[in-house]
């Protein structure tokens, strides 16, 4: 990359590039992946300037105002088809299950702090299984347990790291066979939400 382009990209990132040259730089960015990479690096570096400022404490009212301003939308609608396939239920039933995610009254606390559960009705794909939604607060660890039968899970939101070292994120389907033993920890970020179908339960050593 020549110096002229590098300087123009720096000016573009900073916002000081003369307007008559912006089109030229945009055209270059559209056709040149290395220019896009350099620009991304320049933008990230410039963020460090903002990071040099001591953070200020926003007024509590500002937070409330923000949260009151966002439109309520149906949660997790994009997962409807996945839930339908996973459980063997129709889409309306899958929607109803997903709506329970935001229904506080449908949830009960598990014996482990930071974990809550919501039983749901499954369909033909999970006959004989106990089916439910599980929620873990960020960085909560599900204690070590042994599967007394097959377990299938569909991650709906967030993610977790299994004791095997594998990371599973929203959209992943995970199978834990009978006799398998593991623990896992929810990732930092949003709550971990997953749908579970559990045959014959689990042995949770040390807990009732």
């Amino acid at each position: 990359m020549n110096d002229t382009l590098r300087i123009r990209l720096a000016e573009y990132a900073l916002g000081t590039l003369p307007a008559e040259l912006v089109g030229e730089v945009l055209a270059q960015l559209a056709s040149d992946p290395s220019a896009r990479q350099v620009l991304a690096e320049l933008e990230a570096d410039m963020c460090t300037l903002g990071g040099a400022l001591p953070p200020m404490t926003p007024r509590p009212a500002a937070r409330s105002r923000l949260l009151a301003s966002v439109e309520p939308v149906k949660r997790l609608l994009a997962m409807t088809d996945r839930v339908s396939d996973f459980l063997g239920v129709d889409r309306a039933h899958a929607r109803m299950i997903l709506d329970l995610v935001d229904d506080a009254a449908a949830w009960v606390s598990a014996p482990v702090d930071g974990i809550s559960l919501c039983d749901v009705d499954g369909g033909e794909a999970v006959v004989g299984a106990r089916v439910g939604l599980v929620r873990l607060r960020p960085e909560t660890t599900f204690p070590t347990h042994t599967h007394l039968g097959l377990e299938r899970t569909l991650v709906l939101q967030g993610g977790y790291v299994d004791s095997s070292g594998e990371t599973h994120l929203a959209g992943d389907v995970v199978h834990n066979p009978e006799g398998s033993r593991h623990t896992f920890t929810a990732l930092d970020g949003p709550d971990l939400l997953y749908l579970v179908a559990l045959w014959n339960g689990i042995d949770l050593a040390g807990l009732d």
């Binding site: 720096a10 900073l14 690096e41 990230a44 410039m46 200020m56 926003p58 994009a78 970020g189």
Partner: protein, 188 residues
């Protein structure tokens, strides 16, 4: 599987699915640094609060467009904030509702003048900025925080415009050499 396990990226993904708790957590993580940057650029905490509100509403509505491949959430928010702050500064300049006086600028102190309990990252950056030659640091701060064009910086610091351009490039190269990869610093 999604492309990132970055906590902020997971929050934005949850926002895209309509999770307001995720927005609240993103706010708690970033509002303080965003407010500081907005206040620094606009010279008004009240206006900065509106700016942060607008940018986070924009992030909520555009959460599905966030691409972790293109940069961190911190960079994404920061660039949006800065862009909207510059819009406000341009509107302010055009309408002449508020004159840009030395007095109003005095509210926005230079980065290097501030030294409250800095986090380790910010303290490190503070020291790094101090290693920039004064001339480079000044053009970078005038462009970044005050949104001045190269010609305006040229007039302000009384050097040819070509010198401004080369100082900007040199200052950013210096930061790149120090930080190496994006997303290594705290704050917005």
């Amino acid at each position: 599987m999604s492309a990132s396990t970055d906590p902020d990226a997971l929050l934005v993904a949850a926002m895209a699915a309509g999770d307001r708790v995720a927005l609240a957590r993103l706010y708690d993580a970033h509002a303080g640094p965003m407010l500081a940057l907005g206040a620094r650029m606009l010279g008004s905490e009240h206006e900065a609060e509106d700016l942060v509100h607008d940018v986070l509403i924009e992030a909520w509505r555009g959460a599905s467009t966030y691409d972790p491949i293109r940069g961190t959430v911190r960079t994404w928010l920061s660039m949006r904030l800065r862009s909207r702050a510059l819009d406000r500064l341009r509107i302010r300049a055009r309408s002449l509702l508020v004159e840009s006086t030395d007095e109003s600028r005095a509210q926005a102190t230079t980065v290097l003048d501030e030294d409250p309990a800095l986090s380790p990252d910010r303290h490190r950056l503070h020291r790094v900025l101090a290693t920039l030659p004064e001339a480079q640091r000044v053009v970078l701060e005038l462009g970044y925080f005050e949104g001045l064009s190269s010609s305006e910086i040229s007039e302000r610091v009384q050097v040819p415009i070509g010198t401004v351009k080369s100082r900007v490039a040199a200052a950013l190269s210096h930061l790149r050499a120090i930080f190496g990869s994006p997303g290594r610093m705290g704050g917005v």
